[in-house]
């Protein structure tokens, strides 16, 4: 057992941290966030040049086939910078393609994600919001060899800037909810597709998508018709684990801001950091940041090692992140008081990010329920728990 980074990982980290420090200061984050699309093409190009878009894609499909821990190191740095980008959407979508076994047919697509930063958007949640298979209602019906898609997706990340959409749809209502779930590759500009960016106190690019009689050929199906659920879950586990490290980085950063502020802000003649109440806000936040970080790294390690109980650790990491990152932001707001509520200061960006990511890929309630199920808490003790 040894929880230190390898030399190569330390290099990756240093490169990422330095790049983000010089290229993505808080002013740029604010500027991108306030831009109409919440997206900077230029920054995305820079990330492609850093070869981050290929890390989760095997070499045979044009990527660099890094370990999940490697990617976690990058995500932790991205989170510290509160860096906006569609990277997570590309991870989710490329993993769906890989896990459905459709990689060979979509080699060019994977390669263009890796090499040119082609953006796919993962279209999952609907008006009845949730991340269980039963929340998939958007219908895809066979019609003359094509499929016709009808329904609404809400809170879809990066749909407004994506080149193509990966739409999770229901091709059958028979059997259990996991059954009959299929994935379609749909052009964002296809006839019948309308994308509207949400108006909200949200930091991700989240959009509502209306699909109205959208017709796609059978070749648009990614993987097996009706059998995509397992691949979606595996893809989500990987994306969720790296997302948790992004949130760990964010949580750590808001506490570093709090530590710096409480050393320099003088009240009653002393730095406010000398007050135990201020210290306790910091300690609570640092505990959250560490909790997310180490549970997320363990999850990544289990994914890298192919451990069968990796899903338990992934859900634990995201549960810790969904509780801890928003909470760390609240602690930091307590320390900063009025100053922290000023947009220019930079803290508000993280709070917004924390509260948006809290729900994305499942909140703490979802992931704790999933853990209860994976640990078989509802089963009599003859069978042993999987975790």
């Amino acid at each position: 057992m040894d929880l230190s980074l390898s030399e190569e990982q330390t290099m990756l980290q240093t490169l990422a941290v330095n790049f983000l420090k010089s290229e993505v200061p808080k002013e740029r984050v604010l500027e991108i966030d306030e831009s109409p699309n919440g997206f900077s093409e230029e920054l995305w190009r820079q990330m492609v040049r850093m070869e981050w878009t290929g890390m989760a894609i095997p070499e045979e499909f044009g990527g660099t086939g890094n370990s999940w821990t490697d990617l976690g190191v990058i995500y932790e740095a991205l989170g510290e910078a509160c860096c906006p980008s569609p990277h997570l959407s590309t991870v989710l979508c490329s993993q769906v393609i890989l896990e459905t076994g459709a990689a060979a047919q979509h080699k060019d697509l994977l390669s263009s994600i890796a090499k040119t930063g082609h953006v796919l958007s993962f279209c999952y949640t609907e008006p009845e919001y949730g991340w269980e298979p039963e929340h998939i209602r958007l219908s895809a019906n066979r019609s003359n060899g094509d499929y016709v898609l009808n329904g609404t997706k809400l809170f879809v990340a990066d749909a407004n800037i994506a080149d193509q959409l990966l739409v999770v749809a229901r091709t059958s209502s028979q059997g259990s909810p996991e059954n009959g779930i299929s994935v379609f590759l749909v052009d964002r500009k296809a006839s019948g597709v309308s994308v509207r960016r949400h108006v909200g106190w949200m930091s991700e690019n989240l959009s509502e998508i209306e699909l109205s009689n959208v017709s796609v050929p059978a070749s648009a199906v990614i993987g097996e018709v009706g059998g995509a659920w397992g691949a979606i879950e595996r893809a989500r586990d990987r994306a969720t684990a790296v997302l948790s490290l992004y949130m760990a980085g964010g949580a750590r950063r808001v506490m570093d801001m709090a530590i710096e502020y409480s050393k320099s802000r003088i009240l009653y003649g002393v730095p406010i950091g000398t007050f135990q109440r201020v210290q306790d806000h910091v300690i609570l936040g640092v505990n959250h940041a560490d909790a997310i970080k180490w549970s997320a790294y363990e999850a990544l390690w289990k994914l890298d090692e192919g451990k069968s109980d990796a899903p338990v650790s992934v859900s634990m990491a995201k549960a810790a992140a969904s509780v801890g990152f928003p909470q760390a932001c609240e602690e930091s707001h307590h320390v900063h008081a009025g100053v922290g509520t000023d947009f220019a200061y930079g803290l508000v960006q993280y709070t917004k990010k924390a509260r948006t990511l809290q729900h994305y890929l499942g909140d703490a309630i979802y992931h704790k329920k999933r853990m209860a199920s994976l640990l078989q808490l509802d089963q009599p003790p003859e069978e042993s728990p999987s975790g």
């Binding site: 106190w201 802000r265 009240l267 109440r277 609240e330 307590h334």
Partner: protein
């Protein structure tokens, strides 16, 4: 004990309610509604609100209903006040923020001449007041005041900067009230004077801040502002003591008689009207736990507010109770925002411009406001310092500052 906060109104009070309702219907067109987010107040609505204040005061004496008639208050009972407030909320016109914390400072510390001079204008609704207190270097250390007031004949000359001054915006303030440094040689807490600064005086500039909850807080720059001596409330070394009276009121010292429950009602409605997997969301035990916790904490704040109100009305001296309710209200507000996100998911983050936003985006406003509300009137940390003192734990022991209830026989 009597916990009735919605009394079985007497016939006289029921008649009064009818009168109020009729008047409101006659004077507030149904299409005139307060914006969901107070930040979005257009000028014409603002102007309507200003005129409504004046009309309420001039025509009916309903603007400050439960203050003594002596200087222009309504002289009515708290029940009358509650009815006016309920009917106003029912009709929901734009209301204009004027900080009535100015009243205790004048009522307790003002001379008879000052009461005659200032109170009628305030009670008339024509004078809009903002509290002019916090300074950039001071923050929670409220007594750390650098704004300098220097005597110059019959006037004072004031220079300095205040921040986080709440109100409707530049041009929408008449009186700015707060402490200024009068004597740099005097010890802390005995070096301040409490001034009413006319906002529309040369040298006063209000600059809106761009904050999480909008642009309703300001930096106030005072550059050689000349203020007449009769605008000093209390003597020129009593500013901190005057401020304490205001803070005592701000810190929940007066209590409140009726629980405020709009967001709770929205929350119940949401879980009962939202379907998930063919069931009402409120069937989910985890949702129930969060909604009930929301209910319990909100109702508890109401109960403790009632306790304070009851103590105030019985002229009992407060100990830690005022600050306790402030702390709990602020903490509850953040926890309840967390619960709303747990239950509503990302819907809680949709602004009122999004057609999918529940309750016209009010939950989203609450998400931001609960964070912003942490610091005004003293951070939680400072409020807890006060509680600890009042419980006898600190090196500093202290009693509550005088309020209109404990200081004198003034009905308030």
């Amino acid at each position: 004990m009597d916990f009735e906060y919605r009394p079985n109104y007497t016939p006289e009070l029921e008649d009064f309610r009818k009168e109020v309702r009729t008047w409101m219907e006659g004077n507030i067109p149904p299409e005139i509604k307060a914006p969901v987010d107070s930040e979005d107040m257009p000028d014409d609505l603002y102007e309507f609100g200003v005129q409504l204040r004046i009309k309420l005061a001039e025509k009916k004496n309903w603007l400050y209903p439960s203050y003594s008639k002596q200087y222009g208050g309504g002289g009515l009972t708290p029940q009358h006040g509650a009815i006016i407030w309920e009917e106003l909320r029912r009709r929901n016109p734009p209301t204009i923020f004027s900080n009535d914390l100015i009243l205790p400072s004048i009522l307790v510390w003002g001379t008879e001449e000052q009461k005659q001079k200032f109170l009628p204008g305030i009670f008339s609704g024509k004078i809009i007041c903002f509290q002019n207190f916090t300074e950039p270097q001071g923050g929670s250390d409220l007594a750390n005041i650098k704004c300098r007031a220097v005597r110059d004949g019959d006037d004072w000359i004031i220079n300095g900067e205040k921040t986080f001054v709440s109100g409707g915006g530049p041009g929408r303030a008449d009186l700015l009230f707060g402490p200024m440094m009068t004597d740099p040689e005097a010890p802390r807490h005995h070096n301040l004077g409490y001034f009413l600064v006319p906002a529309k005086t040369p040298g006063v500039t209000l600059i809106p801040l761009n904050l999480l909850n909008g642009r309703n807080q300001h930096t106030v720059i005072m550059d050689n502002v000349r203020v007449p001596h009769d605008h000093l409330i209390g003597d020129d070394h009593q500013g901190w003591q005057v401020a304490q009276t205001v803070l005592e009121a701000e810190h929940g010292g007066r209590g409140q008689s009726a629980p405020f429950n709009e967001s709770a009602n929205d929350f119940y409605h949401f879980v009962r009207s939202t379907q998930t997997n063919g069931n009402v969301l409120g069937k989910d035990p985890l949702v129930q736990e969060r909604v009930v916790d929301f209910y319990i904490e909100s109702h508890l704040n109401a109960l403790l507010g009632m306790r304070n109100y009851s103590m105030y009305n019985n002229k009992q001296e407060m100990s830690y109770e005022g600050s306790q309710t402030v702390v709990l209200r602020k903490e509850t507000s953040v926890r309840n925002a967390d619960r709303v996100r747990d239950v509503m998911g990302p819907y809680a983050l949709l602004k009122h411009g999004d057609p999918r936003a529940p309750f016209q985006g009010k939950p989203e406003i609450q998400q931001r406001n609960s964070l912003v509300a942490l610091h005004p009137g003293g951070t939680l940390e400072v409020q807890k310092v006060i509680i600890a003192r009042r419980l006898g734990l600190s090196r500093t022991q202290e009693r509550a500052a005088p309020t209109p209830a404990t200081a004198a026989g003034i009905t308030a």
